[in-house]
Structures are given as structure tokens and as C-alpha cells.
């Protein structure tokens, strides 16, 4: 088979698998810090119990993120040597700064955060939590800077087919970077809040009414309810930014073939690239013009202006709709749950039942969003600079096929095991309630003396 398509599937599979875990650890680090600070302020051991339950999820997610991330640092070379040969002068320093400032920070203090509660002072343990959370966020900053630069490259010049940096500030803070970073950080926040809310709802359904369950549940639901409208606004701003810098991506997201005013919003369609039209269209008149240009007569770019130079329409169109649809569902669920928790101080069973599968809604939306923006960049690897087809390596298709098959099996098994452990940990926490001893938590009513 063709090494190009196999390499793309392999990298896509790896990076899809990888992003699931940073999407959790980036925000979960800050949630753990919140639990920790609440404990420091109130001395209520339930906060520490919530911390210890979720720090296990953090540890497991972090390990999954590390191992899948290591894989990617090798795949740049094994599958995409043309990438570093062309833009290595720019991608290199950004990746180096991610490793130096973020990876070591999180890895070194993770040990203290996970296992050091009884070995260091409470203050150092809190500091370790801050540094790990800060490290994961810093890591996101650098990698988003690089990804955004690939989408909207600036601050460089080409000499003999190789990119050379001319303005590092412009490279790091390239036009799409602030939007993408905010969008991703919020996405991580939503992923984690729905995960916490969902697994807490599972505990609730299993009869757990412990204080640590309520604290986690409220944290998850209220965070989600606050973040989702901000995310919808940030996503809209990100879209307008894309319209300005990558109009062909917007055209594909909206499946709009002809540039012009009064473009309808396509709710449902099967875009047909061969015929260059949409089948089974359901539309709202002037919708796309209104959303993108804030006027019914606003001109929206069409795919026919970029023939042969725009991304595949079908996957971009549908990935975008899955993301938006999931976002709307998140809004409905989190606001209803917030209403019941705030006004009624209870959670209706049917709503709890819906919240359990919604635990993974953040993953779905994050993946769909990344598919939209990454497939939307095609046929370019770096917009206007390097085509994906020119970056692929000389490795034989059979070797890539072999490695791809093994990776896919491995990822499927690991994902199953990971989800199994999440459910197991939630059920175990539900069974233990507030009764398990916390030997390290000194000033709590249920705790026991520190073990020697």
C-alpha cells in the first residue's frame, strides 16, 4: 500500500490517541490544585479524598500521555523526515523549549505530587501540584504555538527550500495561536469537568452519597456550566480568525462551493467532491453569511475558488458538525445539572444516567475539533510552505502497514483497559465512600495517625 496514506493514518491514529490524555491532564492538574487549596483553606478531609481519587486518574492519564508522546517524537523522523528538513529551523526550537521547560518540570514533580504527600511538607506538596499543572499547561502553549504556526506561518523566510526564522515573537504568537490556545485550554477544562461529573454521577447512581462525591460532582458540573458558554464564544472567534487566514478551511467546514453573498447554513448534507455539490441538503437561508459576516449579504468564500488546493470536504464538514453538536449537548446537560444542584440540591436519576456517557463528550468534541482543523489544513502540512505528500519518508509501505496494525491493536487494548480502570476506580470510591483511612491527612476527623 501507499506509504503516504499509511503514514498519515498512523500519525493520525497516534496523535488522536495521544491528545486524549493531555486533554485530561492539562486541566485536571488545575482541578487537583483546586481540591488541594480547598483542603488547605477548610481542613475538610473530603477535599483530600477527592484529590486522592482523582490524582490516580491523573497518574494513569499522564503515563498514557507520556508513552504516546514519546512515540510521536520518534515518528517525526521515522515517517515525516521531510518535515524537519524543511521547517526544522522553526519547529526545532519550539519543540526543544517544550521539552526543556515543560516535560522535565512535570515529570520531576509528578513523583512528589503522587507519592510525596507524607514525605514533604503540605506546602511543598501544594507547590509540586502547581508546578505539574503549570508544566502541562506550558507544554500545551509550546505545542499549540508550533501547530498554529503550521496553520498560519509567519516570521520566516525561505532560502533554498528551507525555512529560516526571522522573527521569533511573530512565530510563537502567530495569527491563529492565541485563538487555538484558548480554544484548546477550554476544551481540556470541559473534557475534565464532564469526566469528573460523569464518573461522580456513576458513583451517585451506585448509591454513593459521600461528601467527596458531592464535592467532585459539584466541581465538575459548575465548571462545565461556566466554561461551555465561554467555549462557544471562543470557538466562534476562532472560526472568524480561520475565515481571515484559511478561507478554504471555512469553505470546507460549511461545504460552500461558490463564493458569494446570502450563503445558507448547511445543517445536513453529503458533500460530493466529484460532482462539486451537496446531496440531501438541509439549510437555513443566509445562515452562514450571518454567522461568519454578521450580515445576510456577507460574502462567504467557496471551495471552487480553491480547486485542487482545498481540504477534503466530507470529513471536515462532518467533524465540525460533530464538534458543534457535542458542544450544544454539553450546554444543555451542564446547565440542567447545575440548575438541579443549585436550586433543588439534588440530581434526578435520568439526568445522572445521561451524564455518565457524557463523561466522554469532551474527548469526542476535542477529537472532532482537531480533525476539523488538521484535515482542514490539507493538502498542506505547513500552509503554503510544505505539502504533506512532500514530507513523507522512504520507508516501505509494508513496514508502515505492520507498525500501523500493531499500534492500532495496542491502542484499542490500552483504551479499553484505561476506561475499565476509570470505571473500577469510580465504583471502588463509591463503595469506600468517606470511610477509607487517610493516614496522611492529620487534621481531619476520620483520619488516623500517620503511619511510621
Amino acid at each position: 500500500m501507499d506509504p503516504l496514506i499509511l503514514s498519515r493514518i498512523q500519525f493520525g491514529a497516534n496523535i488522536s490517541f495521544h491528545i486524549l490524555f493531555p486533554a485530561i491532564t492539562i486541566a485536571l492538574g488545575w482541578v487537583l490544585l483546586f481540591f488541594k487549596l480547598r483542603y488547605n483553606a477548610t481542613g475538610d478531609s473530603a477535599w483530600m479524598r477527592a484529590y486522592f481519587t482523582w490524582v490516580k486518574v491523573f497518574a494513569l492519564s499522564f503515563a498514557m500521555g507520556v508513552v504516546s508522546g514519546v512515540t510521536m517524537s520518534f515518528q517525526f523522523g521515522t515517517n515525516w523526515p521531510g518535515y524537519m528538513e524543511t521547517v526544522g529551523n522553526i519547529a526545532g526550537p519550539l519543540l526543544a523549549y517544550e521539552i526543556l521547560t515543560a516535560f522535565f518540570l512535570e515529570a520531576a514533580f509528578l513523583g512528589i505530587m503522587l507519592f510525596g504527600f507524607r514525605r514533604v511538607s503540605n506546602r511543598i506538596h501544594t507547590l509540586a501540584t502547581v508546578l505539574v499543572a503549570g508544566g502541562t499547561t506550558l507544554s500545551a502553549f509550546w505545542i499549540i504555538a508550533l501547530n498554529s504556526w503550521m496553520q498560519t506561518p509567519v516570521g520566516f523566510e525561505m532560502r533554498n527550500g528551507v525555512a529560516y526564522a526571522t522573527d521569533w515573537l511573530a512565530i510563537v504568537f502567530n495569527p491563529s495561536m492565541p485563538y487555538r490556545l484558548v480554544h484548546m485550554l477550554l476544551a481540556s477544562g470541559l473534557t475534565v469537568s464532564f469526566l469528573i461529573a460523569g464518573l461522580s454521577a456513576l458513583r451517585y447512581l451506585n448509591g454513593d452519597r459521600s461528601e467527596s462525591m458531592w464535592k467532585a460532582l459539584r466541581t465538575g458540573v459548575f465548571t462545565a456550566a461556566i466554561l461551555i458558554p465561554i467555549q462557544i464564544f471562543a470557538g466562534d472567534q476562532h472560526g472568524l480568525n480561520t475565515l481571515e487566514h484559511q478561507p478554504q478551511k471555512i469553505a470546507a467546514m460549511e461545504a460552500n462551493w461558490n463564493t458569494g453573498p446570502n450563503v445558507p447554513l448547511v445543517l445536513f448534507a453529503l458533500p460530493d467532491e466529484a460532482a462539486r455539490e451537496n446531496k440531501f441538503e438541509v439549510t437555513i437561508p443566509d445562515g452562514a453569511s450571518l454567522i461568519l459576516r454578521h450580515s445576510a449579504s456577507g460574502v462567504v468564500p467557496g471551495l471552487n475558488d480553491y480547486a485542487g488546493n482545498h481540504p477534503p470536504v466530507f470529513p471536515v464538514f462532518w467533524a465540525f458538525r460533530i464538534m458543534v453538536g457535542t458542544g450544544v449537548l454539553m450546554l444543555v446537560v451542564s446547565w440542567s445539572a447545575a440548575f438541579f444542584l443549585k436550586r433543588r440540591h439534588s440530581l434526578p436519576k435520568p439526568l445522572a444516567l445521561v451524564m455518565v456517557p457524557m463523561a466522554l463528550s469532551g474527548w469526542l468534541a476535542t477529537l472532532a475539533g482537531w480533525y476539523t482543523t488538521e484535515i482542514g489544513r490539507q493538502p498542506w502540512l505547513v500552509t503554503g510552505v510544505l505539502r504533506t505528500v512532500d514530507a513523507v519518508g522512504p520507508v516501505a509501505g509494508s513496514q508502515v502497514a505492520l507498525s500501523l496494525a500493531v499500534y492500532l491493536i495496542l491502542y484499542a487494548l490500552l483504551l479499553t483497559a484505561y476506561l475499565g480502570v476509570l470505571v473500577y476506580l469510580a465504583l471502588k470510591a463509591a463503595k469506600d465512600g468517606d470511610t477509607s483511612p487517610l493516614p496522611g491527612v492529620l487534621d481531619a476527623p476520620l483520619s488516623q495517625p500517620a503511619a511510621k
Binding site: V70, P81, F117, Y164
Partner: protein, 334 residues
């Protein structure tokens, strides 16, 4: 050789990359080794062994990311050439690292009945990762383009590097544990040392024989004289460590860290020998560090960050090791 930045920067980065690889081999060496030794340990001992590496392994593996990252960012041409040539062993290495990395966490979190499965996966992943690294080293010293004989040599180096890691793991267990397990680890160390020595001799002989250029670098007067401390010192350290295995553990647990430090010294000497053999090439006999390097302005901006950050990294890494110093006790979150 003029000492301007375009000349110096690739040199500095080759040095940094070498340092990252060496630190990785020593640090991840002991936790990979403990994974290999899992096969020989009882259930309770396995928990202690995990406790001896649990807080560290993440940071240890980050040195591999740094090493590969430096290869990627400082010598992008070499990164592509080396990793495409070693596609399958790199792939196996990654599968191994994935398996052991997650097994670490899963074994502690799954229901008790499933723990055995993850222990086996932890062992398997550690073995695969170590073998793959050894195989890559073997193929690399022969110049990447190898036939069947080269593959056989790669297999031999793979076995010996796995043994060397097992020796490191055993030395770490001696440092971090006491009682029966510590005594067991002394025996493990003695056995693993034999294969480690064999591997070092094999690589030391094969490297100059495979390349006339390297042969000429070692076997000319007076370079031979200056270089002679490398093999002699290594041999002395090996012999001394071998004798020590008959006297350990000592009363009051004196010198518990000595085997580990001795092995680290031996690794460093062997590494220095390899560095001398291959300098100035980053891809043997094909690309020098200057031919493969990124643009000086890019290297300069990475170096600026490295100079500031690397000492801080080293400082807090030591701190993390100190927090978990002393004999390993049960690892718990709360």
C-alpha cells in the same frame, strides 16, 4: 578549525545530545533493568522494586525525549536518516516503552486479580525496549547498512545491553532495599555483569573492525597511549565490582550505592569510547555534525534556553531523588 558560532554550535549540541543519551542510559537503565528482573522476583518483592523506581521513571524517560528531541531539532537530517534506517527496531522500542510505561500504573490500579497480567506486561515491555535499544546500538556502530551478519551482531549487542540494564537494576535494588531481596540482587548483579562485560568487549572490538576510519583513530601512536585509560580503567572497575559482589551487602549497609556508581562510571567510559570513535560523524561515515546541523540562529535560540533551564532541571531532579531517598517503602498516594 576556526572557533566561530557556526562551528561551535553543532559541537555544543553534539555534546548536549551525548550527555542526554548517557544520562538516559544510566537512569532509565536501572528502571528498565528492574523490569527485566521482575521475572526473577516474588510478588512482594516486585512491589518493593516498583516502589524503588515509581517516583523517578517518568523523569528518567524524559531524558530519552530530550536526546531524541535534540537529535530532531539540532540534527534534523540525521534524525530522518537514522530513524528511517532503524524503522522496525524503533517501532519495537516504542511498543516496549508504551507497554511498560502504562503497566506501571495499571498494575497498581486494576482489581487485584488482574495485577499479574500487568506485571507480565511490565516485564515484557522492559525486555522489548532494552533489546531494541541494544539492537539499534549494534546496527549503528556497524554503520546502519547491514546484512545478516550485522543483524546477528545486533542481536548479540541487544542481549548484552539488556544484561547491562539488568545489572544497573540489580545495583539500584541493592541501594534501595534491604534483607533477602538485597541479597538476591547481589546474585543478579554478579550474573548480569558477565554478559555486560561480554557486550562491551564485543562493541569495542566490532567498532574499529567495521570501519577502517575508526580503526585508524584508535590504533596510532600516540593516540593509543592517551586512549589506553579507557579500556584499562573499565576492566579494573569490572574486576573490582565482580569481587565486591562476593562481599555485599556489608554491615550497616555501607557502600550500598557503590555498585550503581561503579556501573555508571563503566557506562560513562564506554560511552566516551563510542563518542571518540564516531566524532565528528552523527550518521557513521555519512553525515558529520556540521552537515546535519540546523541553522546557527535556530541552534543559538535553543542554546540560550538550555543554558538557563538545564541547571534548574538538574537541580530539581536531584531534589526529587532526595525526597525519595533511603530505602524504598510502600508507594501510596495518600
Amino acid at each position: 578549525m576556526t572557533l566561530d558560532w557556526p562551528t561551535l554550535l553543532p559541537l555544543i549540541f553534539a555534546g548536549l545530545m551525548g550527555l542526554a543519551i548517557l544520562v538516559y542510559v544510566i537512569l532509565d537503565g536501572f528502571d528498565l533493568g528492574i523490569g527485566i528482573l521482575f521475572a526473577a522476583a516474588e510478588d512482594a518483592e516486585q512491589d518493593t522494586m516498583i516502589a524503588a523506581i515509581g517516583p523517578f521513571w517518568d523523569a528518567n524517560e524524559t531524558w530519552l525525549v530530550l536526546a531524541v528531541g535534540l537529535l530532531l531539532v539540532a540534527f534534523p537530517l540525521a534524525h530522518g536518516t537514522i530513524l528511517t534506517a532503524l524503522y522496525i527496531p524503533v517501532f519495537l522500542l516504542l511498543v516496549g516503552l508504551i507497554l511498560r510505561g502504562v503497566a506501571f500504573d495499571f498494575r497498581a490500579k486494576v482489581p487485584a486479580g488482574r495485577k499479574h497480567r500487568w506485571n507480565r506486561i511490565f516485564f515484557l515491555g522492559s525486555v522489548i525496549a532494552s533489546l531494541a535499544q541494544g539492537y539499534m546500538l549494534g546496527i549503528y556502530v556497524l554503520g546502519l547498512d547491514v546484512g545478516l551478519g550485522g543483524m546477528a551482531f545486533g542481536a548479540l549487542v541487544a542481549l548484552c545491553l539488556a544484561a547491562a540494564y539488568a545489572a544497573m537494576g540489580a545495583a539500584w535494588v541493592i541501594y534501595k532495599t534491604e534483607g533477602e531481596l538485597q541479597k538476591k540482587a547481589v546474585l543478579w548483579l554478579r550474573r548480569a555483569l558477565v554478559l555486560t562485560a561480554l557486550g562491551m568487549v564485543a562493541v569495542s572490538l566490532a567498532t574499529p573492525l567495521a570501519s577502517p576510519r575508526i580503526f585508524d583513530k584508535w590504533f596510532v601512536w600516540p593516540a593509543m597511549l592517551y586512549l589506553s585509560p579507557l579500556p584499562i580503567l573499565s576492566a579494573v572497575l569490572f574486576a573490582w565490582l565482580w569481587r565486591q559482589t562476593f562481599h555485599l551487602p556489608k554491615t550497616d549497609d555501607r557502600h550500598a550505592l557503590t555498585p550503581f556508581l561503579t556501573l555508571a562510571a563503566i557506562f560513562t567510559l564506554g560511552f566516551a569510547g563510542l563518542a571518540w570513535s564516531f566524532y565528528p560523524f552523527v550518521v557513521p561515515d555519512r553525515l558529520t555534525i556540521w552537515q546535519a546541523a540546523s541553522a546557527p540562529e535556530s541552534l543559538a535560540i535553543i542554546l540560550a534556553g538550555t543554558v538557563v533551564v538545564l541547571p534548574i532541571i538538574i537541580f530539581y531532579s536531584f531534589y526529587a531523588y532526595r525526597v525519595f531517598g533511603g530505602k524504598a517503602t510502600d508507594l501510596t498516594y495518600d
